[in-house]
């Protein structure tokens, strides 16, 4: 059974995954945390926590609020910074079979470019995912992803600094996500990840104030799945590069829906938090589904509902 996919078919280096089930940025740490618990090597790829030039402390507590079928988070990109990542994490990844993709976020276009050049050529890093979609940080974040022009500028600045396969992660908080995706493709992106969290909030009615320390947060989990699915469907019809589906995927059936909508691969996010083995179970379910349906190649599913 052929499960492998290429997330960067137009890039000289390509980004081959053994299977299309990845884990989403911010929900799987640096991959090392769960390594003792599950066989992370069987994943299609691991996307690391969003990484910035300097270490970041993140947002004030509380940072999490559960909502019906969803999770609001306002972590605020707490991370160890790119230098520590290169020194402490990349050497571990270099010994792994599973590709690790580093999610990067900058306050300015120059910072994105700097991050890309620092991460280029580092052993253990298979590609970059440009995060222009974080709803929880003031500068940068989703601002770059809500305008085709700014998105184009970020992606082309990064493209100039690296030959690494580049995914661009987009925000649903924009009037026309497909237009932003097309701009990213023109700027040299190898693939598009859709979607990051949807901006939202919750209020503690006893304390009469917003529940999150940051006031607003990003909504993830099953609650956002239909929105993400629609956006994947929409964008996959407009670009000629692979689309990666993210948003509320917690079962095999969810993953298959995204693949059928036109996603070349999927990322499992919030589901990892309560079920560290969620992505692997989805992978096993996918193999079973293909067997039952008499399918021999994952490409027979991709875009099947279009």
């Amino acid at each position: 059974m052929e499960l492998s996919v290429d997330l960067a078919p137009h890039n000289q280096f390509h980004l081959y995954l053994a299977n299309p089930v990845m884990v989403a940025s911010g929900t799987f740490g640096y991959g090392t945390e769960y390594a003792g618990l599950i066989d992370v090597q069987r994943l299609g790829a691991i996307i690391s926590k969003g990484t910035t030039l300097k270490p970041r402390e993140g947002n004030p507590q509380p940072r999490l609020a559960e909502t019906p079928c969803g999770l609001l988070n306002a972590i605020g990109l707490q991370n160890i910074g790119v230098e520590a990542l290169i020194k402490e994490k990349a050497p571990i990844w270099a010994s792994w079979r599973v590709p690790v993709i580093v999610n990067i976020a900058g306050d300015t276009i120059t910072e994105y470019a700097q991050l890309a050049s620092m991460l280029s050529g580092v052993a253990g890093i298979a590609g970059l995912e440009i995060n222009i979609s974080c709803p929880n940080v003031k500068a940068g974040g989703a601002e770059f992803g809500s305008s085709p022009k700014l998105a184009y500028q970020v992606v082309s600045a990064v493209r100039k600094k690296t030959k690494l396969p580049l995914l661009v992660k987009l925000t649903p908080n924009t009037s026309d996500i497909a237009q932003v995706a097309v701009a990213c493709e023109e700027a040299g992106a190898d693939g598009i990840s859709i979607i990051n969290t949807i901006k939202g909030m919750a209020i503690d009615i006893k304390k009469r104030r917003p529940l999150l320390g940051n006031i607003t947060g990003g909504l993830s989990g099953p609650a956002i799945k239909p929105v993400a699915l629609y956006m994947v469907y929409e964008v996959a019809g407009r670009v000629n590069i692979p689309v990666v589906g993210v948003g509320g995927i917690s079962s095999t059936e969810d993953a298959i829906e995204f693949l059928m909508a036109g996603a070349t691969a999927v990322q499992v996010g919030t589901a990892n938090l309560s079920r560290p083995q969620a992505a692997l179970e989805i992978l096993e379910g996918l193999e079973e589904f293909m067997m039952k349906e008499g399918l021999s190649d994952i490409s027979q599913i991709i875009g099947a509902a279009r």
Binding site: E57, Q61, L64, L273
Partner: protein
């Protein structure tokens, strides 16, 4: 609530379980309150959907837990006077700690406060032979007082303090012990997404930088923690 888990594994006071509570998206953290062979206990109060679901489980039903997680209280090796302070459900980890402290080597005093009589675990649920002083906010059992207000007379005696309770209690403890140099280990609470160090939901500020309550804690030295940066 007692959980039978085989094969049995070792658990330490301060450690916690992440419990899947029905259809709720996130697991809920609960301190380990006691253990015996392959049986492990938690105590909880119904405050929302997850704990309401737990309260409806019947004997013999299976539930899904992750753990034991986190670090644990460190019991000094040599002979030592230990002051234990518990507020509300903080009694869970403190009671388990008391269970593990050998009273033949150490001298132990427990100060235990809660909002009212109904929120207190009765003495029969606490380790035998423990010297306990009870207080309630409303005076319905024991003295009417804050548990931290009971601490000052013991500050000359205690060589190690262990505490677990609501944030307000820990802030009060920091105040009343400001002039003392007794080491204080506290078990902290934070909203948790994963319990395993991947989501950064439970991060707090400490003197040694940002730390994760689930992974670096839940037990910290009180003097290292920036309590003002915490909120639930």
């Amino acid at each position: 609530m007692w959980l039978k888990i085989s094969p049995a594994f070792a658990v330490l006071p301060g450690q916690f379980f992440m419990v899947k509570c029905g259809e709720n998206l996130l697991r809920r953290p609960f301190s380990i309150y006691s253990s015996e062979d392959d049986k492990y206990a938690i105590v909880y109060r119904v405050v929302g959907q997850g704990t309401a679901w737990l309260s409806k489980r019947k004997e013999g039903e299976e539930i899904n837990i992750l753990g034991p997680l986190g670090n644990s209280f460190e019991i000094p090796e040599g002979e030592c006077n230990m002051l234990l302070i518990a507020g509300g459900l903080g009694i869970a980890s403190i009671s388990f700690l008391a269970e593990k402290i050998s009273t033949s080597v150490h001298r132990v005093k427990l100060l235990y406060g809660a909002h009212d009589k109904d929120c207190l675990l009765p003495p029969s649920f606490l380790p035998d032979g423990l010297d306990i002083e009870f207080v309630t906010d409303d005076g319905s059992f024991g003295q009417k007082s804050l548990v931290t207000d009971l601490a000052p007379p013991y500050l000359g005696w205690a060589e190690q303090i262990f505490a677990c309770g609501p944030l307000a209690m820990l802030r009060g403890l920091k105040k009343v012990t400001a002039a003392s140099t007794i080491p204080i280990q506290v078990s902290l609470e934070a909203r948790m997404g994963c319990g395993l160090g991947v989501c950064y939901g439970c991060a707090i500020k400490t003197k040694d930088g940002m730390k994760l309550v689930c992974h670096d804690g839940p037990v910290f030295q009180l003097e290292n923690v920036d309590l003002e940066s915490m909120a639930i």
